[in-house]
């Protein structure tokens, strides 16, 4: 292997609710390599102006190009808006996505679920059904459509529902809308490679001296090996989801259930019907919310999980991978690699499910302040947008943040001051 780099710098950009990390590796001869891992938001920092994302894009450009360097690799862990919205282009060619594209990265890394067809270089486990990719692509589109319909439905009923419920469905729904501009830009800005657990990333040429392991997402075959429900029925479920969501939301031109029946309008119910009717309204929307959440989780679980081993250190970037994505990795031969993680990018903005206890307890470098090789954790998030405290699903999760603060050198983008674009975290690799 070529000589490893001597230092790593993580620029954790302040995008609000989203991820944007510029990873810089510096070599002994002073040369540098740059990776951009995600660039998106669904809620900017409170004090950010309209031009904020472009400012970040320009800063990324400046850092990559100073001293003759370049943006070598772009990683889009999964297609949620809060990870790729920054890659969208503008009509005038000066959008944040245009600025990134102009840097002409040599490689764009995405999960295998994004691949249009089985890539030529696919050396993944043989999949019994050739149409897996088409099915996956179609079900991703179906998920987007379902999210769209969920939004329509909840806006329609917003006056009758608790505000918190409406806000939550809206936030999650919008994160799951299709961002065509970003997707197209990612496909066009450089050669694409689609990765899965254990696959080759093709990054060796761009990152000499660095070992990159892909821990997730698992392929269908890998998943089927450990799950009971066949992945194919999952894809089928999502194909039906838009229709179900449309029906459930009372959208479209569904025929009345009982055309001849005498009815009483919801706004004029009999006194003896009102107590339950209000509760049924809420129950119905909560069911919609759980469908939207399931969709959201499904999308999160397509995240690429990357582990970089450079010099003496290990850096873990898991996107928004949740337990279901992690399950394959945790029982695989690669699991022991997690013991030595030195830097952990906190999954899914600090949600409970994205840092499963079974994974967290594997990190041996957790410890108190006095520990010399203490684990570093980095979180990019914004309070109050996702989940709710009452149900212990708030993002970031308080108990997780407590554990991160107690057992690691914890950095959060929320601690940045107004106007600060990023926090710089340096790690020596020797």
């Amino acid at each position: 292997m070529a000589n490893p780099p001597v230092a790593a710098t993580i620029f954790a950009y302040h995008v609000g609710f989203g991820d944007c990390f510029l990873l810089r590796f510096t070599y002994a001869d002073g040369s540098r390599r740059h990776l951009l891992i995600d660039f998106g938001t669904t809620s900017l920092p409170d004090d950010a102006g309209a031009d904020w994302m472009r400012s970040i894009a320009r800063d990324i450009r400046d850092k990559c190009t100073e001293g003759g360097g370049a943006l070598n690799i772009v990683v889009a862990t999964h297609r949620h808006a809060d990870h790729i919205s920054g890659f969208a282009t503008a009509a005038d060619g000066k959008g944040s996505g245009d600025i990134i594209a102009a840097l002409k990265p040599k490689l764009v890394v995405q999960p295998w679920t994004e691949a249009p067809n089985a890539p030529v270089s696919w050396r993944g486990p043989v999949i019994k059904d050739k149409h897996a990719f088409a099915a996956r692509r179609n079900s991703l589109d179906a998920m987007h459509r379902t999210a769209e319909l969920a939004l329509q439905s909840v806006y329609r009923s917003r006056k009758r529902l608790p505000q918190a419920l409406v806000d939550e469905i809206a936030f999650v729904g919008e994160d799951n809308l299709k961002n065509l501009s970003a997707i197209k830009n990612l496909q066009a800005m450089g050669p694409n490679v689609y990765v899965y657990h254990g696959s080759d990333t093709g990054m060796a040429a761009e990152l000499p001296g660095i070992d990159v392991t892909v821990l997730g997402p698992p392929t269908l075959t890998q998943t089927d090996a450990i799950k009971k429900q066949a992945s194919t029925s999952e894809a089928e479920f999502w194909m039906l989801a838009p229709k179900r969501m449309s029906d459930a939301g009372g959208l479209g031109d569904a025929k009345p259930l009982f055309p001849g029946a005498k009815t009483i309008r919801g706004s004029r119910l009999f006194t003896e019907q009102r107590w339950l009717a209000r509760r049924i309204d809420q129950a119905s929307s909560e069911l919609l919310r759980s469908l939207v959440r399931a969709l959201d989780n499904q999308m999160n679980n397509t995240s690429v999980i990357l582990l970089f081993r450079a010099g003496t250190k290990s850096l873990l970037f898991p996107g928004d991978a949740q337990l279901e994505n992690w399950q394959y990795a945790l029982q695989s031969k690669l699991a022991p690699l997690l013991d030595d993680v030195d830097l952990y990018k906190v999954g899914h903005h600090g949600s409970r499910n994205a840092t499963p206890k079974s994974m967290w307890k594997l990190f041996t470098k957790r410890g108190g302040k006095k520990r010399p090789d203490r684990l570093t954790s980095v979180m990019s998030t914004k309070h109050g947008k996702h989940g709710c405290v009452k149900k212990h699903t708030e993002v970031p999760r308080v108990s997780l943040v407590d554990a991160l603060k107690v057992e690691s050198n914890f950095h959060s983008t929320e601690d940045l001051a107004a106007g600060e674009l990023y926090e710089e975290i340096s790690i020596s690799l020797t």
């Binding site: 029906d247 459930a248 009345p256 029946a261 003896e272 509760r279 129950a283 069911l287 759980s290 399931a294």
Partner: protein, 603 residues
Amino acid sequence: MARGSPRRAIARNAAFPAAGASTKVEPPPTRKLTIVAKDPGLRLGAPDGPMAFTQVDIPAELLGKGPTGYRIKVVDYNATERVAYFDNQDYQRRDGALLDPFAPLDGDFLDRAYQERCIGDPNFHAQNVYAIAMRTLGLFERALGRRVGWSSGGHQLHIAPHAFAQANAFYSEPDRALLFGYFERANGGRVFTCLSHDIVAHETTHALLDGLRSRFTEASGPDQAAFHEGFADIVALLSIFSLEEVVAAAIGEDGAVARGDAKIALVDASKLDKDEILKSIFLGIAKEVGGEIEPGELGALRRSVMIPPERGKVMRTDTDEHARGEVLVAAMLNAFVDLWLARIAQLGEFEGHRYNLAAVVGEGAKVASHLLNMAIRAIDYCPPTDIDFSQYLAALLTADREAVPDDSEHKYREIIKRGFEAYGIPASGPGCNDDGTWKRFDRNKELTYTRSNYSAMMRNRDELFRFIWENRSEDRLDLDERAYTEVLSIDQVARVGPDGITLYETIGQYTQRLDIFGAEFKSLLGVERPRVMLTTDKFTAFGGGVLVLDQYGQVKYHIANRLRDPERQFARAEYLLETSQFTDLDPNDRLRFAVLHQQRMGA
């Protein structure tokens, strides 16, 4: 047409005099209402034959609009369409005669036009859920010999037959309601979960079980989560067999013989082969819904009875609670089939290897009724928290032994015990006898009875608690003094003694809680905490027990899951951590059962 209700069929209750009669007649205790038997997917004679409609007997009452009765209140509100459907029906006349608005005018339940009118009328759906829920409630009240309340404390459980356009149906504890959804078929027709007898009986059973053992909805272990689902399926499946005409029609006649003036319908022996019965519509849940959601070989939403014992043993240890629940159903229903076949084998054969259809169906009804009673009575002998399948088996065997001390004729208990063991559910444990029943309480000599008042103890929770507290020491009831203990319920159970005379026993449920930190796990619960639990983690440990007092007020059984039960407490804590339910206990979640069902229905 605005008022679209079909021509109302009025089936007069035969015992009643004509309108205007002056003599006052005793109101009848029961009435008949028309329902869809089993499932709209059950077709008689041919795959596109008529559905099976029937009348069921339920307690008679004067119903309000809805219909609304003393235990059930139907509110036909549809959140997707934002309308409520008007109740056009009358369930009684002014002279008090009770009506069945949807009985066929000419008595022909199989008439297609009649069936279509019913299916197209929301009021029929309302009647359907009302009648099936009342029928299921009646099963429980008869089995237990007392009234069974809803967990909310309210007297009326709400039912919404067309709550929303979603492929789901569930019991919502905080809403005191059963909510039934509907959805469209791939080819455009509609599927109503409220028309499936299986689904309505299943959801009503959740509500009834919640009334009897309200703590079973809490996060505890995979068995407890699975128990609700398995038990609800068992009740739904077994309760069909008492609709003997429907069962006979579904099995189908294969000729008949004359015996004097009577005609005896016959059924071919080949239909009574174990495999055929396992595949039959009776042992699948919700054919119509299942056919839409997961078309396939099951022919139903689920068909747990087809799980063979070897696979059941594997599923028994599955972390997935759905899989576990199915093992319970498989064990019970396979025992049912074995018992039924054993009784059929004792019947005489007619020429051509055929059996008397009515006799076959009658035997099925007897066995199903016995098992249903056993399954329901067993709840009284289950501890209030952290139930596992082996404990339920012990409760089953104990309940049956109390009711039928001499089992030598049909050997129900032996067959059940063997069947459950084959599925990986042994009847073992420190509190059990060799035959699997709960051990009798043997410390009565140590208990202090003199300071309590038995007649008050039978009725008053404070008094029963006083008795428990008085006798808390280790050599008596052995309850942790530091825990917060509470008597949840006291019920009287009627039993027919060996001399045929009814005697009354008392069943009291109590629970205990201890709020601890991870650091205290070992000292208070007797076992090292799970590795992933921090010393500073907050944790609540529960214990609970059932005291059965005999007709003299003496403790007959003390069936308890103690706080200081190292193995069980460790297993529960580990389960909670693994499923990330730690500090997320929210049994009042309205969607608690809905999400489970969403997953079973393919989400």
